[in-house]
Amino acid sequence: MAHEIPELKVENLVVEYVTEDAVVHAVNDVSFEVPKGSTMGLVGETGAGKTTTALSIMKLLPDPPAKLVSGKIEFAGEDIVPYSEKQMDALRGSTVSMVFQDPMTSLNPVLTVGDQIAEVIRRHQRVSKLEARTKAKEMLELVGISGDRAGEYPHQFSGGMKQRVIIAIALACNPKILIADEPTTALDVTIQAQVLSMMRDIKQKFDTAMILITHDLGVVADICDTVAIMYAGRIIEYGKIEEIFDDFKHPYTEGLFGSLPNLQKRHEKLKPIKGLMPDPSDLPTGCYFHPRCKYATAECAKRQPKKTYLSDTHYVECLAYEEGTGVKIEGGDIK
């Protein structure tokens, strides 16, 4: 795996929002890679920098105020950070696509859904208007909507249906990389399951590299191969799905699992993480998580943790796993 060039590679990405009053450190030195056909879950609370990471990959950050300060974003080995708008437009919608968070507001209310799908096909493929329209209908069928509805407007569809349309737009040109930003958060639970299983099927069919942004660990367990846990703009733990789910190491990851209800142990109380995500324009010193960490020591406020590799694929950013720091984790769920 290490020899193969990954479909998407992000290296030391740093993104800031620069406003009059403050500099918001949204993404702080994030690296990961997603090979062909694999899915990475990007998990974290609201405000952890997940969406900003995703928009950086699309190069759709609102500039100003957002600034891509440093780092590399490679599509199949090619760094796209220096790309011009024109070069990016050739990739957006064809090589890399994104499914947005809120289906209710992500479709243009005055255009038919068929038009909105056909538009991306016409942009990236040499086809006639009629062919694009036929292809748009096929895409609708693929996501489970009757092709006859191509002439209808977004307001005539339910939330789940709209999300399917958005997925159809994203997949219309067989992208190599698909970013799904909380694709199911705005939907009913039953619809969530439908949309997720559809996405899993389609991903397998097209062998797409996918990033699934979510704060729902259940969704991650369902379709991801690897998981990156994000906190205050950093990936604080990263590993294969089984490494994270069966053998998590970071106190924050422990907290995330602790705030999930456990169906096997119903009498057990939830253990929510106390406190709030730090203000990203005023991050704490040392480990960003230490003010909320139940194992924190004085050392944690001084030193920023480095990546500690526990296996080829599993790393954690926590002083407890670095040598000679004296920080210990005891008495929790971490093995």
């Binding site: 918001v24 609102p62 709030l276 203000d279 990203p280």
Partner: protein, 306 residues
């Protein structure tokens, strides 16, 4: 695309809410002032209005009304701008600057009086209508809609044409045509705050409708009212000048800006300053009110706050 929010589940205790409310009430003016000061346009507008108001108030000390503004001086007719007459003299030899200065007083009077009238009448109608709701509201709002279906200028024109052209009728005409605007704004604001908790509380405490309307509702409508008032005052100045220009407003020899333009028009080929300067006075004054209105809206509209 949105800036990621800093706080997610942030909730205040009821005590904290109370403190916040009090703090908010007290600093309403301070808050507005801070917002205004940041807005360059609003500051410029405010300064200009202050200057015009100053000139209007002390017009008599600057130029004597009878001697300088009204009385013809046939030895000095149609003189181009000079040191003695910075903006020249008109066909009766009267100093144009002196007339513009006294015209400022007239324009400010018209704007203030007509707005005060339409604000109080429209405001009370709208507040009661919104507060009482039901049939009363439905009927009143239909009537207001009908008034709004008549373009402002035409309504004012009809009133002046029927009652006869003079200052009082002009003010009345402008005021009446603006009543529905205030009624609507007040009504929608009242509707939005009517069911809030503090109104419920005063009702529970047995306060009468009138008391509630005047004590609770009107004070909360201040923000949208001042924004609208500054915009309406700007429009009032233009309508007053327009009507006077066509002879249906303030009558000569009174130095109303529109009336000055009307008489200057006959001489505009050779003496174009006679139409230039009174017009500029209108533009500057209206611009100042609009700048202030824009600034106030930005400062007061919570939706635009970050």
């Amino acid at each position: 695309m949105k800036k990621e929010s800093k706080k997610n589940d942030f909730q205040l205790s009821p005590e904290e809410m109370e403190i916040l409310k009090k703090y908010k009430k007290r600093s309403f003016l301070a808050e507005t002032w801070r917002g205004l000061r940041k807005n360059k346009g609003a500051v410029i507008g405010l300064i200009i209005i202050a200057l015009i108001a100053f000139v209007a108030i002390f017009a008599d000390l600057l130029y004597d009304y009878e001697e300088v503004v009204i009385m013809p001086d046939y030895s000095a007719t149609l003189m181009s701008p000079s040191l003695e007459h910075p903006l020249g003299t008109d066909e009766f030899g009267r100093d144009v600057l002196a007339r513009i200065v006294h015209g400022a007083r007239l324009s400010m009077e018209i704007a203030l009086l007509s707005t005060a009238f339409s604000l109080s009448v429209g405001g009370i109608i709208g507040a009661y209508s919104g507060y009482l709701g039901g049939k009363f509201d439905a009927i009143v709002m239909r009537i207001m809609d009908i008034f709004l279906a008549i373009p402002n200028m035409l309504l004012a024109l009809a009133i002046v044409a029927a009652l006869g052209p003079n200052l009082f009728n002009l003010i009345l005409a402008i005021a009446i045509s603006d009543v529905p605007r205030f009624a609507r704004i007040l009504r929608s604001t009242v509707l939005s705050i009517k069911d809030s908790e503090y109104i419920e509380a005063s009702k529970a405490a047995g306060a009468r409708t009138t008391t509630i309307v005047f004590r609770e509702i009107i004070p909360n409508c201040i923000a949208p009212i001042i924004v609208q008032a500054s915009i309406v005052m700007a429009a009032a100045i233009i309508i007053a000048a327009s009507l006077s220009f066509i002879g249906l407003g303030v009558q000569p020899p009174a130095p109303e800006w529109g009336a000055m333009l009307s008489s200057g028009r006959s001489y505009m080929r050779e003496y174009n300053y006679l139409v230039l300067f009174p017009g500029l006075a209108i533009v500057i004054t209206v611009l100042a009110f609009n700048l202030l209105g824009d600034g106030l809206r930005d400062a007061l509209d919570p939706r635009l706050k970050r």
